[in-house]
Symmetry: C2
Subunit: 290 residues, 2 copies
């Protein structure tokens, strides 16, 4: 299997900045971005405080940065990273493939949601983050699905075609199309306003508990916009909901770096690209001697 | 005396980025820049790795960043900062004036030279960094002057008009105009290639020691491009020759931040502007509650 020098998880300003710097230093780079290269920044009407550019729209900024980065030819994988396993090299599992890299930079953006109690403990024992990976384990079973991004609509459809019943929980600000919701099979019960409080179970998932009551289920899928970093990397040390990093964007694991919003506030473009660059220097140095 | 919210020492990418962010947050800002807003970057023919700008010359980048920052109207002081005194507020002494600020960001760029043995111990007892401040103490005395930037030619002329003799040491890569050197008074002895090893003295300066020998002097002026940060701020903790900073660009003194090249490698524009922004967030928060 190809071992890349550097794997970058996320293609927002931090991830692309890291890719740019790493490629300038002639390292092999694979960058994972399943959505639209910072959907968040693409919603920004106007950026006035990015040093060196008087004013620019979010989409124009991302397009320029993407063009600039792609000119250095990093490998781009339009796949969703499910897990990063610590090792030499690191192993990166997506919803489609497995990759290896000497060094990894997490640039997954701001974490919109925390994990809920029981979620981590029951991961792989009924809790899953990947419909296409694990959906078939739940054929004709009762499951719960939490979704907070439009990007996962197809995954809900897949699960609906497999499971006996689905209790579907819709996260925070997400607006799912009325028509799409209306066309879901009757086996899907939509809870538009419920808040998921915990996953219940000892050896395996037995129920999901919300502010509207408890439902017995065999499995729970969390389909989140940005995966909480502790779900991506087992044992990564956090500072609040962000990945804890040192002066050079290093995490508690050697060779693993974090940059941009996932590494904490302020949630700003200049800070993100600066950190992406800093993390890339660290990863370049690490990949050179490992 | 006006107490500014934030004083920024240095007007390169880090300093201007910090000023931009601080002004966007409506804090009063004074920025000190005596030279040309990053003379170093202005010598860069071409920058290809600044995220979001495909390619740009160093001077064009600095001009754009300066225009963008000045639109937010920070106060600019074209004065050279000699010392920052820790306190609430901080006191900033330049070669012309004294200022106060609740918070200070050091963005003085890369330190080209280290201090030499004896220099710090004899500061104020014969060692000086400021010709216009201290020159008159050395009327008709024998002094040594170290210079490593064209910006200090006038200071040498001033000292030549006061002192009895000057041993003039020219630093590293500095090319002083032949004609200017030829027109210096005979009391100035130019050592074009000598390396200053130490300042000698117990209670006060008695001599300067170089690789070409020792000269008895009453005082030594170090006129450096970028003042080593430990000369600007007594007791600031270093990491090698850089200011030691934490995750949020904080130094060992509360309210004092550092950003850009002075805070260490990599010496890159994106890293510098990101750190300037990060330091500004810290300074804004500090100034808001102090």
């Amino acid at each position: 299997m190809t071992v890349y020098d550097i794997a970058i998880v996320g293609g927002g300003p931090a991830g692309l900045s890291a890719a740019l710097t790493a490629r300038v230093h002639n390292k092999s780079v694979i960058l994972f971005e399943a959505a639209g290269f910072s959907d968040k920044l693409r919603r920004a009407h106007r950026i006035d405080n990015y040093p060196g550019i008087m004013t620019i729209s979010g989409p124009d900024f991302m397009d320029q940065l993407l063009e600039q980065t792609l000119a250095y030819e990093p490998t781009i994988a339009k796949e969703r990273v499910q897990s990063v396993f610590i090792g030499a090299p690191f192993t990166i599992m997506t919803d489609e493939n497995v990759y290896q890299a000497k060094s990894v930079i997490l640039a997954t953006g701001v974490t919109m949601s925390k994990t809920v109690p029981g979620e981590r403990a029951l991961l792989g024992r009924g809790v899953s983050y990947c419909a296409s990976c694990d959906g078939h384990f739940f054929e004709n079973k009762d499951i719960a699905v939490y979704i907070n991004t439009l990007a996962y609509q197809q995954d809900v459809e897949l699960l609906a075609s497999l499971a006996k019943t689905i209790n579907l929980y819709i996260g925070g600000a997400l607006q799912l199309p009325e028509e799409w919701l209306a066309n879901l099979p009757k086996s899907v019960i939509v809870h538009a306003k419920a808040i998921v409080n915990s996953v219940v179970g000892e050896q395996k998932v037995t129920a999901i508990e919300t502010n509207e009551g408890t439902h017995d289920v065999d499995g729970v899928f969390f389909l989140r916009d940005s995966c909480p970093p502790e779900n991506l990397v087992e044992g990564v040390v956090l500072d609040g909901t962000s990945v804890a990093v040192g002066r050079n964007m290093e995490t508690n694991y050697k060779g693993l770096f974090a940059a941009g919003d996932v590494a904490g506030t302020p949630l700003q473009v200049a800070k993100a690209v600066g950190e992406g660059q800093m993390a890339a220097f660290g990863a370049v140095a690490f990949a050179s001697v490992n």
